[in-house]
């Protein structure tokens, strides 16, 4: 049975229709945490976050506290919040920016204070027109409240926060591409090393990049202490996490559940959560962690949803998305569509990603729409191997960023899990589901 008694940490205001307004925010404990943080030394605030063991919610799952502490050696110049959320089937940041923008802004200010950064940016996906308006409004409100600007809340600390709209490019979710976008350039991920923007980030200066959800957790952590957060979940995966459930389920949506304490089955089937597969059909596969992640079969439905638990089984919690494919879903079409996404979203720098994604997409298209050949499966696997040698997990890279090495995930999963479906496509001369 699902464990649903954990506190709502980031989605506590979801019940209110006016959850995005300052009035509601102040009524429900808004800015208490920031005031508290300002009475603490910055290091003490950072220590709470460290104690919380808050794993980054953007995809890579790097502990926020560790990221910040790497920077304490060199003072950070900029804080950048990643709200580019474009990983297919991920929509939890969308929920946060539209429904609780003040919580995000407060979290950003707390982080800025902990890092002693005076200039922060929230990079929001351009297609979030409403989200942009709501976050900008929240920022404006925060300025008039005295929570942003010079000497906030009468403290010695000043901070400026700029809301930066993206313009439609998935790759700008990758933190170095995002920084390029923030510098007004095309979103080409930067070469690594340096591996973290912490070393050279925005304008070549040390920069912290954190996800919207990561930031939104901070007010609660400051109010309740890092230990309270760490008490939730198991092992490295602490606290709660937002999961965006989509695909062939009765109740798709964003659900905040405690880490590790619930399984994929809980998320999909609990009546308070996914409510089961549409029409009571069987699960054919699930895509955990966004389309960059390798797929799971129904055999792994009882896997606890924790970072390491999922990692050990060869996939990832990634962006906090779970897509359910049922027995009527065509896996070839699904994998083709995902490759098409990568092909359209490859920034175009690295040859394997730029050319490989297009090639694989076209071959997959043939399989799905007619013209597939039996040898195509081997060809596809070999092309995948040329992009991510060894097809292991975590993938090896031939490219600058991991978008490239994510391309093989779905194709490799689909071919290895469902070879018969591919053969059926070849024999049928296209998709047998059509």
């Amino acid at each position: 049975m699902a464990m649903l008694d954990s506190p709502r940490i980031v989605s506590s205001r979801a019940q209110y229709a006016d959850s995005y307004t300052l009035t509601r925010y102040l009524e429900t404990g808004g800015y208490v945490a920031l005031r508290k943080a300002l009475t603490m030394f910055p290091e003490a605030v950072a220590a709470e976050v460290d104690a919380a063991s808050l794993l980054g919610r953007g995809g890579a799952g790097f502990p926020a506290g560790r990221k910040w502490s790497m920077l304490r050696k060199a003072p950070v110049s900029y804080l950048v919040v990643n709200g580019d959320e474009s990983e297919p089937a991920t929509f939890k940041d969308h929920f946060l920016v539209e429904r609780d923008p003040h919580q995000l802004v407060e979290g950003v200010i707390i982080a800025a204070y902990a890092l002693q950064v005076s200039q922060a940016f929230i990079y929001l996906r351009g297609e979030f027109a409403l989200g942009l308006e709501r976050v900008q409004q929240a920022v404006n409100d925060a300025y008039s409240e005295g929570a942003l600007g010079s000497k906030i809340f009468g403290s010695d600390f000043s901070i400026d926060l700029v809301v930066h709209p993206g313009a439609g490019a998935y790759i700008c979710g990758e933190e170095t591409a995002l920084i390029e976008g923030l510098e007004g350039k095309r979103g080409f991920p930067r070469i690594k090393p340096p591996f973290f923007p912490a070393v050279t980030g925005l304008y070549g200066e040390p920069t912290v990049v954190n996800n919207v959800e990561t930031m939104s957790n901070l007010p609660w952590i400051v109010n309740n202490g890092g230990a309270a957060f760490a008490a939730l979940g198991v092992g490295r995966s602490t606290g709660t996490r937002l999961f965006a459930l989509a695909g062939r389920v009765n109740n798709p949506g964003v659900y905040e559940i405690e880490m590790v304490k619930n399984t994929f089955r809980d998320l999909i089937y609990d009546p308070a959560l996914g409510g089961g597969v549409i029409g009571g059909r069987a699960v054919k596969a699930i895509i955990p962690g966004g389309v960059s992640a390798p797929w799971f079969g129904p055999d792994l439905l009882d896997l606890p949803m924790g970072q390491d638990e999922v990692g050990e089984k060869g996939s990832m919690l990634g962006s906090g998305s779970v897509v359910v494919l049922d027995e009527t879903s065509c896996v070839v079409r699904a994998a083709w569509r995902i490759t098409k996404f990568f092909s359209r979203e490859s920034c175009g720098q690295c040859t394997p990603c730029r050319e490989g994604s297009g090639w694989i997409e076209r071959a997959m298209y043939r399989l799905e729409h007619g013209g597939g050949r039996m040898e195509d499966m081997d060809l596809l696997l070999d092309l995948c191997d040329n992009i991510a040698p060894g097809l292991s997990w975590p993938p090896q890279q031939t490219t600058i960023c991991v978008l490239g090495s994510s391309i093989p995930s779905s194709v490799h999963s689909a071919i290895s899990m469902f070879p018969d479906d591919f053969k059926a496509h070849v024999l049928h001369g296209g998709c047998p589901h059509d």
């Binding site: 790759i171 920034c347 394997p352 050319e355 076209r362 031939t398």
Partner: protein, 867 residues
């Protein structure tokens, strides 16, 4: 206690331990150790981008061996690398296969076919069979992205070499990547063609046939070509080049990477002007710069008629014998386009045979050669690395484009601060720490306000803070400062700028100077003694008295001087005072030694055809005093001779000898009698640059960027001594009796009478652009379309004040009449001035400079009427 900084580290490549420079890139370190790692996007002169992924190699790390790109991985001690494992091969083959997936298989019709790294790689590694059965990406066939460059997008492999060149090296970002993913393409702005003066470099560094040069396209196949290493003489920077021909036809010039000079880059004028050298049979009018002079000409009954060498030399010697009977009756003007050997021969002829001291290698558009000799010189490298660079020149991108690139590098990287004396528009402006906009006639006063902390002239556009900042950057003694000095305004008495230069030289003993005069071998010609008081081997004789160009013209007009020998170049095309020069030539016997036609020949009695660039051997000296060889690639057309032969035969004809018989022997004589380096600079056995056969594939490895042909290592990079500045002086001092001029040798500067500006007049700035109607452009069918008609450049403040609209045609009145010119808004022009570009013509064919220039005054002033 001093920390020992390790400059080398040890790494293991394929099991072999090698010592490499600390922090260098793995791709370079491995290459020097003999392990060539394939690559497409990496260019050693630009920041690595790691885009093509061809250079993946296995590097040992904490998580075992992983594939890493060698092009941006810096070596560190103990690094262990494998470049030839199965895994590496599979990854590289995979990248190659991906690159070829959408690449057209049109090698047989591709310009790059035969010298294409992608083709080479494919032949060496590719499986030969394509697994790609999908439809290839299609684009409309080649588009002209500029006047000289075509882009075939299908062939592009997205390596970003061209776009990086444009933004990183040239700094003009005229082309950029557009789009995303596999739709990414290189694109100029739709309304602005890619006409950067550096556009040809993108063609040279393109690793495939995506960018091609219009002038070269389809003109030859690489295996038909032969090449030699030489030096570009289009301007005075001295870029190292490979000159290629197919048979006796020049086909292509490519940049060779010379570390101290051009870094492999060339400007488009230098790169593409070769069709002005190759005989252009369509043009026969001797008054046109597009015409090659291929046979001697003698004026018979007012008309220049073809003649034999014997007849022509006879006619010339008669004229010279007559004229030299009177003291000062003869002189020579020009010589900057000669080789050092040619200049040396003519110097021997003029001084030795004719006994005249009336010599001047410049056309009155340069600077006092004694002052130049007296300055402590800097090399280009020193200038580019100087703490502070002070420029007193015109727009360097237009005058000496590659020098601009080199100085830009220092400014962009932050190692140098630029203090600019700005006389007109300048590409360095946006990079300069301080830009002092100087009006005509005031450079010396502005210099004084820095050197003597004096007040700046009233009404200047710069603030006291800027002045202070300039002073601070120059410091007390000028240590670490390089002054780049030239001739920014041809409508201004040269003494204004000379006075300023001298002031700086006297005030800052530790400063160095780089002389940014633009005409090809002007430094060499002066070093060979083509100037009164100058002596071969950069020598000086204070006792000698002779006339410079302007004084000779004056003497010719007065009839004191009877005859003049014009040594290369068109005098009338190069002086501001065209009227005065014409009057002088009309009044004189004129012998022109030249490779091209031109207006001057309208007054010549005898024309002697000379071999020019790429047809002659010898040495030239660049702006920094570096002596390098020029190598002939083709045979001069018709019966043109090398200058040494002409001077020697003419002497013979007059019953004398200059003791010179061939270029080689002349070079030797120069070295023996003056100590000045000549052809021996190229004698070193190790140097493989003199002649490189195209088939010699191993020589490819020597080039810094093997992706961009010609695969020649420059003379410098193989460790040949370079002879610049102080070294030349030292060598010369040791072996001959002449000495170098010093600042003390300069006469006291006379005060300059600069007329006061009235509010109706505007001061005239006549500046240079790269693209003018000179021989290089005017004679080149591929380039001449790039020359713009004359316009009148004005600042918006003056435009508003005068109530004229941009583009309006106005009447401008100057010293000898008026012309009608369109007005162009140009914020680089100082307030109260107008700018006209030298060597251009108005839409109606008028030479505006000739009309507006005032030879009687320190500055020229003009008036505008908007009707």
């Amino acid at each position: 206690m001093t920390d020992v900084i390790r400059t080398t580290v040890n790494i293991t490549v394929n099991g072999r331990e090698i010592e490499v420079k600390a922090g260098e890139l793995l791709i370079d370190a491995a290459e020097r150790a003999g392990e060539y790692i394939p690559r497409f996007c990496y260019h050693p002169r630009m920041e690595p981008v790691g885009m093509c992924r061809m250079c993946l190699v296995e590097v040992e790390g904490p998580r075992g061996a992983t594939l890493q790109p060698a092009c941006y991985l810096h070596v560190n001690d103990g690094m262990s690398v494998c470049t030839n494992s199965e895994k590496v091969k599979k990854a590289q083959d995979g990248v190659l296969e991906f690159l070829l997936a959408n690449h057209p298989l049109d090698c047989p019709v591709c310009d790059k076919g035969g010298e294409c790294p992608l083709q080479d790689q494919t032949l060496a590694h590719g499986s030969g069979e394509t697994r790609f059965i999908e439809e290839k990406r299609h684009f409309v066939k080649p588009i002209e992205i500029g006047e000289l460059v075509l882009l075939d997008r299908e062939r592009c492999i997205q390596c970003a070499r061209c776009t990086r060149f444009s933004s990183e090296v040239a700094g003009d970002t005229e082309i950029a990547f557009s789009g995303r993913g596999d739709l990414i393409e290189v694109a100029p702005s739709p309304d602005k063609p890619f006409n950067s003066v550096f556009s040809g470099n993108t063609v040279q560094i393109c690793p495939v046939g995506a960018l091609t040069a219009k002038p070269y396209r389809f003109s030859a196949r690489p295996w038909d070509l032969e090449q030699v290493e030489s030096t570009c003489t289009t301007c005075a920077v001295g870029c190292r080049i490979a000159v290629q021909s197919s048979g006796n036809r020049l086909t292509r010039v490519l940049g060779v990477d010379s570390d101290p000079v051009n870094h492999g880059w060339l400007c488009d004028k230098g790169r593409f002007t070769l069709d002005s050298i190759d005989q252009n049979p369509e043009s026969t009018d001797v008054l046109s710069a597009a015409t090659r002079i291929t046979t001697p000409l003698v004026r018979v009954k007012g008309v220049l008629e073809p003649a034999s060498w014997g007849e022509a030399l006879g006619a010339a010697s008669a004229i010279l014998r007559d004229a030299s009977a009177t003291p000062g009756g003869v002189g020579a003007i020009g010589g900057a386009s000669l080789t050092n050997e040619g200049a040396f021969a003519w110097e021997r002829f003029m001084r030795g045979v004719l006994g005249t001291e009336n010599l001047d290698a410049q056309f009155g558009d340069g600077l006092d050669p004694v002052l130049l000799q007296a300055l402590t010189k800097a090399t280009i490298d020193e200038a580019a690395r100087a703490k502070t660079i002070v420029t007193l020149t015109g727009d360097l991108r237009e005058e000496l484009p590659i020098l601009f690139l080199r100085l830009r590098e220092g400014a962009v990287s932050g190692t140098s601060a630029i203090v600019e004396f700005a006389f007109g528009p300048s590409a360095l402006r946006s990079l300069a720490r301080v830009s002092l906009v100087v009006r005509p006639g005031e450079a010396h006063l502005c210099a004084r306000s820095i050197t003597d902390h004096a007040d700046a002239p009233a009404g200047v556009a710069f603030s006291n803070e800027e002045l202070l900042e300039a002073r601070r950057l120059i410091g007390e003694s000028g240590e670490g400062v390089v002054f780049v000095v030239g001739r920014p305004n041809f409508a201004e008495d040269p003494r204004v700028i000379e006075n300023a230069i001298r002031r700086f030289a006297e005030r800052y003993p530790d400063a160095r100077f780089l002389v940014a005069l633009r005409r090809s071998n002007v430094a060499g010609a002066l070093d060979m003694g083509l100037g009164s008081q100058l002596r071969p081997g950069r020598g000086y004789d204070a006792e000698a008295k002779g006339l410079d160009t302007l004084a000779q013209l004056e003497a010719l007009r007065r009839g004191d001087q009877k005859a003049v020998v014009i040594l290369g170049g068109c005098l009338l095309g190069n002086v501001a005072d065209v009227k005065g020069a014409t009057a002088a030539l009309e009044n004189a016997d004129v012998i022109a030694v030249t490779g091209h036609g031109g207006a001057t020949l309208g007054y010549a009695n005898v024309v002697l055809p000379a071999a020019i660039a790429h047809e002659r051997s010898g040495t030239v000296t660049n702006i920094e005093g570096r002596v390098t060889a020029v190598t002939p690639k083709i045979v001069a057309p018709g019966s043109a001779w090398p200058d040494v032969a002409i001077a020697a035969e003419l002497a013979e004809q007059m019953g004398q000898s200059i003791g010179l018989s061939s270029v080689e022997q002349t070079a030797k004589t120069i070295e023996e009698t003056t100590g000045y380096p000549a052809l021996s600079v190229m004698n070193d056995e190790v140097h493989d640059g003199a002649v490189v056969g195209r088939s010699d594939a191993s020589s490819l490895r020597h080039a810094l960027d093997p992706m961009a042909f010609p695969g020649i290592r420059s003379a410098e990079s193989v460790g040949l001594a370079s002879y610049t500045g102080a070294i030349v002086e030292e060598r010369a001092q040791g072996s001959v009796h002449t000495r170098c001029a010093t600042l003390e040798d300069l006469a006291n500067a006379e005060p300059l009478e600069v007329p006061l500006a009235d509010s109706y007049s505007l001061r005239l700035v006549v500046s240079r652009r790269l693209y003018d109607r000179g021989v290089a452009m005017g004679g080149s069918p591929s380039l001449h379309n790039l020359v713009k008609p004359t316009t009148l450049g004005l600042n918006h403040v003056d435009l508003d004040r005068l109530g004229v609209e941009e583009g309006a045609i106005v009447s401008v009145t100057g010293a000898s009449g008026n012309v009608r010119l369109p007005v162009e808004l140009n914020e680089g022009v100082a307030r109260g001035s107008v700018e006209i570009v030298f060597g251009t013509k108005s839409a109606t064919g008028e030479d505006a400079v000739a009309v507006l220039y005032d030879p009687t005054s320190v500055i020229s002033q003009v008036r505008l009427e908007s009707r």
